[in-house]
Symmetry: C2
């Protein structure tokens, strides 16, 4: 059982590299569990910051489930290089984007990569993309606490992490593990966003606690973290996601406002 009990920890004294010297602040959007809307949150935060006139890049580090291209409506774009042999990021809503989703020939090409290859790809996205100068780089992290998370914490001095969860216990379990990981790697946690907090029926406007309630609030109390927002689920939001439109621009007023407040809190730190 030695292998199972052995946990890789890394020295608190070891300063991370800085592979993104072009970015003033790098923020990781993370979750313990997949499918909680992490990419949607990352996309809306990036667009919100860009709407404030800031220069923003969004790196899709979710190698095996790259959702960013579709969320930004650029899923049919393909990678191009500039004269300096740097990859040119896609761009929409004022945000520069890079994702492995832009490098595959077809939408359903699977990236059956050993994680060392996945890591090399991400390192290339940090080193060899024509990001220009950025005020913010937002990283859409893969779910969990594996190789990519470790590498990112080692290769970039993260300004902070934002954790996304649903209220459900099965999700908050996983998020608490992610919180402990960031604590151990000395990455400041800026706060928690509860997504899919409740469902608003389009006809009756009744609120349903589909995924339970109070999950993020309990997490925030347990770990003394700020609750940045509680974002409801609506049929319109899902449609916007599939259509490459941003909730912070096209969403219902309540949702727009929630996101705008999150962006304000981030920009003020």
């Amino acid at each position: 059982m030695e292998t199972i009990k052995k946990k890789i920890t890394y020295g608190s004294s070891q300063k991370p590299n800085n592979r993104a010297p072009y970015a003033k602040r790098v923020i990781a959007i993370s979750s313990g569990k997949g499918g909680v809307g992490k990419s949607t949150v990352a996309a809306n935060i990036a667009v919100g910051l860009a709407q404030k006139g800031l220069r923003v890049g969004l790196l899709d580090a979710d190698i095996y489930g790259p959702s960013i291209p579709r969320l930004f409506g650029v899923e049919n774009e393909h990678l191009a290089w500039n004269d300096n042999n740097k990859m040119i990021p896609s761009e929409n809503f004022g945000v520069k984007l890079m994702s492995v989703g832009l490098t595959t020939p077809q939408n359903d090409t699977p990236l059956v990569w050993r994680s060392s290859v996945a890591i090399s790809a991400l390192i290339q996205f940090l080193d060899d993309v024509a990001w220009g100068e950025l005020d913010y780089m937002i990283i859409d992290m893969p779910p969990g606490t594996g190789d990519v998370q470790l590498t990112m914490a080692q290769e970039i001095p993260l300004f902070g992490a934002i954790l996304v969860t649903t209220p459900q216990m099965l999700a908050t379990d996983d998020v608490s593990r992610a919180i402990m990981m960031f604590k151990e790697t000395h990455v400041p946690i800026l706060g928690i966003i509860e997504n899919m907090s409740y469902f608003i029926a389009p006809d009756t406007k009744v609120h349903y606690d589909i995924f339970g309630s109070g999950g993020a609030k309990r997490l925030c109390e347990n770990y003394e973290l700020p609750l940045l927002a509680q974002i409801p689920l609506t049929c319109k939001m899902r449609e916007l996601s599939d259509e490459g439109k941003m909730a912070i621009i096209f969403g219902e007023n309540e949702i727009k406002k929630s996101y705008q407040e999150v962006v304000k809190k981030i920009a003020e730190r």
Copy 2:
């Protein structure tokens, strides 16, 4: 860009090892995207097979988000060893269970493991657990198409894979990548289960297509695969999950029946 374009493929002629000779049939429950209810589906299928009098083991291979212990209500149990120095699996509803969630001292202990360590842990779960003779081993795979999936396809002759998705396009995108991975690795796909197909309001019984509709049907048509079930989302189902109760036993009739039909289809193959 060599690294990014290079994809690891492995020879179709290479027969996988058989690290689970004690199991007659090994079935992987997989998804492209996390958070679609893959673990819930895996748990209910395992319990359904056990209710038919079959000997069933469930291996939680979702190293970074082990949900199986809570779904089975054994999240506070800890690992024990027998006299032959084999790990004793937990057991509930007639299913033998193994999960990294049972090996960590606390629920929020993060597994900040390099993937090589994660793989070693899974290999130990195959080699060093007192599974006994099994008719079925169900593997709850992590989302995506990475190291764990590759290793499992190499180390075990899989009888087949079942893919779980929600109707949402962002989810079916990822599932189509998983389908291609299984095709490339010559693992037969037994079918697709659409989870959270629609939400049933507890008061009015109105159905809402929260996550869109028709996603799994489109996938099945595109890739010529059977649609095994469409399982709705109800408030009760989420409660059952958090309480360690199985929908196939305690759920609403409609849901029980859907799961029982899936189990029947699997057992008949």
